[in-house]
């Protein structure tokens, strides 16, 4: 009798441990979801600010250059490829499952020497801080331009990017207002933020599915 009671107590103990572990896993999923939701809202706020800066600079540029120099008729309708593109990969994350990951490649020239910036919020959320800048993976951060050759290469790439930026503004004429260049940089930053938002959105929806899955 005593033996049977002991076995019963052990089984109850195991069940309660299992239930506790299950609750912990559930809580972890909820926390991940709330983290990504918070990250999403913060990024949207940041995007708002960047866009406002860009609109303001664009309005200033229009004021100094004139309305005729910044309007729809100048949009380049000759066939051309986008200089800033995305790479999409399917990433398996242990706690979140399969999540699409977007990486921005800005000002990639046709020669393929463009720099790629990879904003991975999935890795960030694993560390528990979706907004820590030091956790972002940058495609060129692993390069150590200590050798002269590598420094020259980095300088060449910078020159290439400047050339692509100038080409993008050339539709507005040869001489453009510094405010227009400022607007271009603001929208570039907004673009980077949008890619982060896309990654956070994907993580959030996956975390939401895992919570609501029965």
């Amino acid at each position: 009798m005593a033996g049977a009671e002991e076995i019963e107590i052990c089984e109850e103990g195991e069940e309660s441990i299992e239930a506790e572990a299950k609750t912990e896993r559930g809580d972890e999923k909820v926390l991940q979801f709330l983290d990504s939701l918070d990250g999403y809202l913060t990024l949207m706020d940041s995007l708002n600010s960047k866009l406002r800066e860009g609109w303001f600079d664009l309005a200033s540029a229009r004021h100094s250059m004139g309305t005729l120099r910044i309007n729809t008729t100048l949009l380049d309708l000759k066939d051309h490829s986008a200089s800033s593109t995305l790479q999409v990969t399917d990433q398996e994350v242990e706690s979140l499952g399969s999540v699409p990951r977007f990486a921005l490649s800005k000002w990639a020239s046709k020669g393929g020497s463009g720099k790629g910036k990879d904003f991975s919020t999935v890795a960030d959320s694993e560390m528990g801080s979706p907004r820590s800048p030091q956790l972002r993976h940058r495609g060129f951060a692993e390069e150590k331009p200590s050798a002269k050759g590598e420094t020259v290469l980095a300088a060449d790439e910078d020159a290439e990017i400047k050339k692509e930026r100038a080409k993008s503004l050339s539709v507005f004429g040869g001489l453009v207002s510094p405010k227009l260049r400022g607007a271009q940089l603001s929208f570039e930053t907004a673009l980077e933020t949008l890619v982060e938002i896309a990654n956070t959105r994907a993580a959030m929806l996956t975390a939401f599915e895992r919570i609501t899955k029965k």
């Binding site: 609109w55 066939d79 800005k106 993008s168 603001s186 959105r201």
Partner: protein, 141 residues
């Protein structure tokens, strides 16, 4: 997100834009036309193919809801587009279509426009997840 099938990897995917610049008064209209689209085109996202098909659509006062729907359907079915940026004001015109879209790629991001700030209450992604915070979902637990 629907679709547990693996997401095909894409290189050099595009960002599409459906943006509006509807302004309250005619005198302001000229200055605020197309700022969002122009801005992102300056950032290098514009793409025009040999058939002169662009990866952006400009919504103005003459654009019909049907045209906006067609643009959305076209962009969301293209393989070379990874993200669609749509002004939230425009998204509200085709809200049913945007809310019923549930593919992981291309990702639909609702962005503010100059005259219409971002409203989290209308965001399709947040509407989907706010169910977790509703009284009904709490009572079911």
């Amino acid at each position: 997100m629907a679709g547990r099938a693996s997401i095909p990897a894409r290189n050099s995917a595009l960002i599409a834009m459906i943006a509006d610049e509807l302004c309250p008064s005619v005198s302001y209209f000229v200055s605020c036309v197309l700022d969002t689209v122009v801005g992102f085109l300056m950032a290098g996202v514009g793409n025009v193919d040999i058939r002169r098909k662009t990866n952006y659509r400009i919504v103005d006062s003459k654009t019909t809801v049907r045209q906006i729907e067609d643009a959305f359907k076209e962009f969301s079915s293209r393989d070379d587009i990874a993200i669609i940026l749509i002004s939230q004001y425009v998204a509200n015109m085709i809200r049913f279509l945007v809310d019923s879209y549930n593919k992981p790629v291309p990702a639909i991001l609702e962005i503010p426009s100059k005259d219409h700030p971002y409203d989290p209450a209308h965001d399709s992604v947040l509407s989907r997840v706010k169910y977790l915070f509703s009284a009904e979902s709490v009572s079911q637990r």
